[in-house]
Symmetry: none
Subunit: 406 residues, 2 copies
């Protein structure tokens, strides 16, 4: 590898938080026992990061694009492609992806857009939804409850398509309409697919059983939010060096795979509260020998935020802090950064647009006067970064930047 | 002059730094005895500045454009024109400028792209490189070792040109190719010039001597990075008032001259460690009576940074601080600002993308709680500016801004 150090970027998903009465009006991060994070804050530089821009309530997809140096305003093509990645579909540039719902249709009209929040049988239902029509491959993957993602793969497809989802009950599913000339064939093939799907779902054993149990059948697939999988320039081309990704959730590994980064699988890295964070950190240390940039996503903080459970969130941080002792061993050859991708306050259980705390540590790097790592302390730090500025800052900290000018 | 005050902007070149073990892990600025800078910080407002944008490793050319209110993303046309200014060529809008190397050619191929890092004789060699062909004037100025700059001046020239530099040894110098139709004549004249230069260098007494001493001759001029000297709108037109520049290095005075600013020569202002900083400050105070804006560049901090000598850097700051006592005398009629153009940490000896400290002082201006002027203290200050925002802030602080709206 060229001269310069590597960068290890640890992203606690949904890290940022608001005061919580259960923790004496502290955030989970403030309340956590976090000697390693505090040590890095004390010896490093800290601040706040708006992963997209201030006040924007970022998703993990838009924020991770930003963290990797891809402005989502330019590259984000809607939730379809990223939800498809999130459900583990290995999308390719040019694929058209949709968010999809199982719904209940009686006669010609939708009576329940969520098919009673169907909780089982969606895997079996999905089997009849993977098919090919007129050279176009349809790939469906179910998600939580009635949710799923549909991907169309083939030559010359367009995402200029209306939704089949009427977005309301008491209406029939809509015919998908081409929103421009170039989308006519895509719309026509999709309408044929939705008709075939309707027929196959109608007679599916899962729905026969649901009817016999007095439940509404999941006999209609509603699609919305067509988006083309973006043709993102490879990470190596954008930054001049290779990258690796360690994450338990498919959406993040999906984005990284699309960028040509090495996706490193770690046993027990589940994206849940009790993920194998030691294994992830060890893998990051190892990967930083081969790659100039390693991103690690720790999902548990976001899960706890959505669960509105600050004690759980504090626990995730404490376990990660313990694992981080190991990372300090490589500080002489890697710049270590810790941040979040967005805030998920336990008080609301939803993402918020609050900035996330940030620390950047290398033993001989710039410092500030902040002595601990939490939302309140780092607000007195030196950095106020937004969007793709973080990776620029990290690159120069590691000696990996080209000079702009003379 | 209209109502309002003047602005005196003192730019310590390469001021920002990182902790240095030789100074007890302080930066040169933290370690320096700097009563005047600290007094201004205490009574003024402070913060951090990213002269281009966060993380960008700025050169002095791009950063000074920014400091003067010219977004380099819009106005910077590559290193050629700015290196030419740096070597003291008084470039004009429309000139085409190149970075150039003396190289050694044996037979038809380049055997050394740097002519043995030729250390003497380049002034004499240059004499045969200033010539006119077909109404196009060629101006060459040698720089450090084998480096130099070439400028083409004439009607209808284009910078859509390939390099003659093959960027590798064992290859012949390349014919310069027009990258679009409009550049064909420029390419043709340049190729004729390079041929004439080759012949004149070949038989030059300096090269005859080098051969007799067993050294490779500097018998080829390689050019690269063609850039058109930008037609920058004059400083007075952009800002509504006149400006003056006091700097020891030709690149800065070159930019300011191009903007139509008054370039003030100060005896002993050398751009080196022991520059006449007292004379520069005195000249700035004087110039602020005639101009609304005076920029002073103190190069020594950057020189010491590149020398990886934090004690030297501390010394430059201490001498400048002493000189600054005088500037406080005019604080009732001038807003005084102190910052850097980029960071040059002594620990790396190269520019970095760390933000630079900033203070803005006028006795009745906005304050913050920061009590001293250094990278760590000002991180708790009120200002986080980037790019061309600094000059906007200074203009309003001096009462020189137009209201935006009613």
């Amino acid at each position: 590898m060229s001269t310069g150090r590597s960068v290890i970027l640890i992203v606690f998903d949904g890290l940022g938080d608001r005061p919580n009465p259960a923790l004496g009006n502290r955030t989970a991060l403030q309340a956590a026992y976090r000697p390693n994070l505090n040590r890095m804050a004390r010896l490093g530089i800290t601040g706040l990061l708006d992963t997209v821009s201030p006040g924007v309530v970022a998703g993990s997809d838009t924020s991770h694009l930003s963290l990797l140096g891809y402005d989502p305003r330019r590259y984000y093509t809607g939730r379809g492609p990223f939800e498809a990645m999130g459900l583990g579909i290995e999308v390719r540039p040019g694929d058209i992806a949709f968010r999809a719902n199982f719904a209940t249709r009686e006669g010609g009209t939708i009576t329940d857009r969520r098919a009673g929040r169907i909780s089982s049988g969606t895997e079996e239902l999905s089997e009849v939804l993977n098919r090919e029509i007129d050279g176009v491959e349809f790939i469906f993957r179910p998600g939580v409850e009635h949710r799923g993602a549909l991907v169309m793969r083939g030559e010359g497809l367009s995402d200029a398509l209306s939704d089949s989802d009427p977005h309301d009950v008491g209406k029939p599913p809509r015919e998908v309409v081409a929103l421009d000339k170039g989308a006519e064939r895509t719309a026509s093939v999709l309408n044929r697919y939705l008709k075939e799907a309707r027929e196959a779902l109608e007679r599916h054993p899962v729905n026969v059983r649901r009817r016999s149990e007095g439940k509404g059948p999941a006999n209609e697939l509603l699609v919305r939010g067509a988006g083309r999988v973006p043709d993102l320039p490879p990470f190596r081309q954008v930054h001049g060096f290779s990258g690796a990704c360690i994450a338990g959730i498919p959406m993040i590994t999906g984005i990284c795979a699309l960028l040509g980064m090495e996706v490193i699988k770690v046993e027990g890295a589940t994206g849940s509260l009790y993920t194998n964070v030691d294994g992830k950190i060890a893998a990051a240390v190892e990967a930083s020998r081969r790659h100039r940039f390693v991103i690690v996503n720790i999902k548990g903080t976001d899960v706890a935020g959505h669960d509105r459970n600050p004690v759980e969130k504090k626990g995730v941080i404490e376990r990660a802090d313990r694992a981080m002792g190991r990372i300090l061993e490589v500080a002489d050859r890697a710049v270590i950064a810790v941040t979040g991708d967005h805030s998920t306050p336990c008080s609301t259980g939803e993402h918020s647009g609050d900035p996330v705390p940030l620390l950047v540590f290398s033993p001989d790097g710039r410092r500030d006067s902040v002595m601990s790592f939490d939302e309140v302390s780092v607000a007195r730090g030196a950095l106020r970064l937004r969007g793709t500025e973080l990776i620029e800052y990290l690159k120069q900290a590691a000696g990996l930047s080209e000079k702009y000018g003379a």
